[in-house]
Amino acid sequence: MHRSVWGILPGALPLLTLMVMLGPVLLGLWWTLAPALGLLSEGLSLGPLRAALAWPGLREASLLSVTTGIGSTVIALAITALILAGWSGTRAFAVLQRLLSPLLALPHAAAAFGLAFLIAPSGWIARSLSPGVTGWDRPPDLLILQDPWGLTLIAGLVTKEVPFLLLMALAALPQTAPGRSRNVATALGYGRVTGFLKTVFPRLYVQIRLPVYVTLAYAMSTVDVAIILGPNTPPTLSVQIVRWMSDPDIGTRDLAAVAALLQLALVIAAILAWRLAERGVAFLGRRWIESGRRGSAEGAGRVAGYALGALSALALVAGIAGLAVWSVAGLWSFPSALPDGLTWRSWQRHGPPGLEAMGTTLAIAAIATAVALVLAIGCLETEERRGVRPSRAMWLLYLPLLVPQTAFLPGVQIGLLSAGLDTGFGPVVVAHLVFVLPYVFLSLAGPYRAWDARYSTVAATLGAASGRVLWRVRLPMLTRACLTAVAVGMAVSVGQYLPTLLAGGGRVATLTTEAVALASGGDRRAIGVWAILQTGAAFLPFALALGLPALLFRNRRGMQDG
């Protein structure tokens, strides 16, 4: 029975997976192209293009996308490299890693709100320095949040990108055998940082190149973080696209479509430019290596790397604490460091609608993640049974993450409406799946492929057919890896803003869409409640992923770290 089912599936599953991931992207791009060419209104024309070019903010908005995207990625990559160079393999590094890993699950919107509460003129930092250091007895009139250069936006992106790049790098690090290289470099008189940068980093970078491009594409086109921390007049190009998409005037859709194509072109150009820059850096790097210089600023490099890494972790943690305190704050006058009184009133007011949105959020996340898990296991099991090695098609997994969300999601909405289909819950789940699937697959693939196949051979010689081996041996042994993949998938889904907004037609209310919608209002107590709920929804699956195996296998020592 298992055999016959599998007889049909092997060819179909990887294909189905690709369709699920790439179908919406390609259809979305097509339905972005069509209105941009005027095909949906007056027939092929340059009208939409001219109208978009006539928008006075276009140059500045595009420039902002490029500077904030490239700036934050360069900084995050530099911090990541410095941390790894100065500290990998040390105990201090293990501490930092344990601090940063869970922060990866923190939704971007909650992180951005937390940071905003920290650095705003009336935020915790200003409060703790006032009036003693600053002399302020009321919040200063400074444009820190939403500054016109996007510096706060860059800071917000960097704090979230450092954990991501660091964990990606850590996953790839063992393949570069850093310990041996360090020993050789040390024996030749190189310090830790210089030795790492000259011997390990070039090989490591090749391994994490795709995640770096993903980071770049994301940072250039993020919407929720840019709404919260980014400039307003004009906003980044992506935010402007969403504004045009949500304008009741149907004509602005065409403008949004043109801008979406421009966004796509900008991201492609930025990745190509990054690629060229890689060559340049490699050339300079080789000259640096050949110079034989042993490096001089060793200590400063180490301290800077660790300080910046710890700072971004602390900023995120303090941000969450700030959100929590605001959610229960009564009167809180400046410059008191803590509220004058605590009250549950905000929770009583926003709790019930919050829990309702939490239900919707978790339902979407659970369905999208369940489908993603089935497809990922199906693909990995097919790979296993056919005895094929992981193919070069792996980069296709990254494709939905490389195409900017704002480039194809407007097309998804336009396409749904043009085809007479409605936006809503179903399309939202499908749109989430596009982003959940790659992360679930990437999270599961390592442990799945590393599993000792001799267990499968033993089970088969004991008379177990391949289906029984999968259900009774392999998946139970990979319980922890599967649950971690589920937690990663759910965290990704919980954090999605744009797919929910556009595929849901604005009618599917999740914790993320509701929280971001509060950004312009400035009701800090409400934001506190919603952002804490959002954070909870993202962390809950991780708590289960850690707790369940410990409970299920409490009498099985061999399963404690498997």
Binding site: R3, R386, G387, D452, R454, Y455, S456, T457, V458, A459, A460, T461, L462, G463, A464, A465, S466, R468, R472, V473, P476, M477, T479, F553, N555, R556, R557, G558, M559, G562
Partner: protein, 216 residues
């Protein structure tokens, strides 16, 4: 009835190059030791016989068990037992569940299955171990559980892949004797690959050195 294991004109190739050629018959209760340096394809031969060979290999020849050609049968239908160097007890199951996994499903009741598992444990001196976590067992105890798990699946032949090299010298003798005794008691043909001449000597059967020589 012929109860031997036959390898008939088996040649395994990888990327056009011949890895090994074997042609031999193993009688019931006989142990054939296959020896060769690492990389000579000993384990590849076992994968071929169990039906778990990677598609990258090309194979000619056939495997006969009890006179029946099993070359094209899937691994779980071949009735060939296998022991590795590591016991490979399933870590998420208790010792008893590991044995129950091996025990072929039958018409007998749950209580009878339990009794067979208890009897199997008693046979190797592990009475009352059914509820134990395999991770808490010693190396020798694990090897014994693995042996009984395999025997409960009622195989018609036995393959051993360096089965004793993970044990210390004292246990090695004990487990070696145990395995060979059980196999002989059940009249199983045994194919063992090893790099340890002592294993081959203890087996007392023919020795096949791979790299072109046939057993005869």
């Amino acid at each position: 009835m012929d109860r031997s294991l036959n390898l008939i004109a088996v040649t395994i190739r990888r990327a056009g190059a011949t890895l090994l050629s074997v042609d031999c018959e193993i009688a019931p209760g006989e142990v054939l030791s296959v020896m060769g340096p690492s990389g000579s394809g000993k384990s590849t031969l076992l994968s071929f016989v169990t039906g778990t060979l990677a598609p990258a290999f090309d194979v000619d020849g056939s495997v006969l068990l009890h006179g029946e050609d099993i070359t094209r049968l899937p691994a779980h239908c071949r009735r060939i037992g296998l022991l590795f160097q590591d016991a490979l007890l399933f870590p998420h199951m208790s010792v008893g569940q590991n044995l129950a996994f091996g025990l072929a499903p039958g018409p007998e009741r749950r209580r009878d299955r339990r009794a067979r598992i208890e009897a199997a444990l008693a046979e190797v001196g592990l009475e009352g171990f059914a509820e134990r976590d395999p991770a808490t067992l010693s190396g020798g105890q694990r090897a014994r559980v693995a042996l009984m798990r395999m025997l409960l699946s009622e195989p018609c032949a036995l393959l051993l892949d360096e089965p004793f090299s993970g044990l210390d010298a004292e246990r090695r003798n004990q487990i070696r004797r145990l395995v060979f005794d059980r196999a002989r008691a059940r009249s199983l043909p045994v194919l063992m690959v090893t790099h340890d001449a002592e294993d081959a000597a203890a087996a007392g059967g023919r020795v096949l050195r791979i790299g072109g020589e046939d057993c005869g």
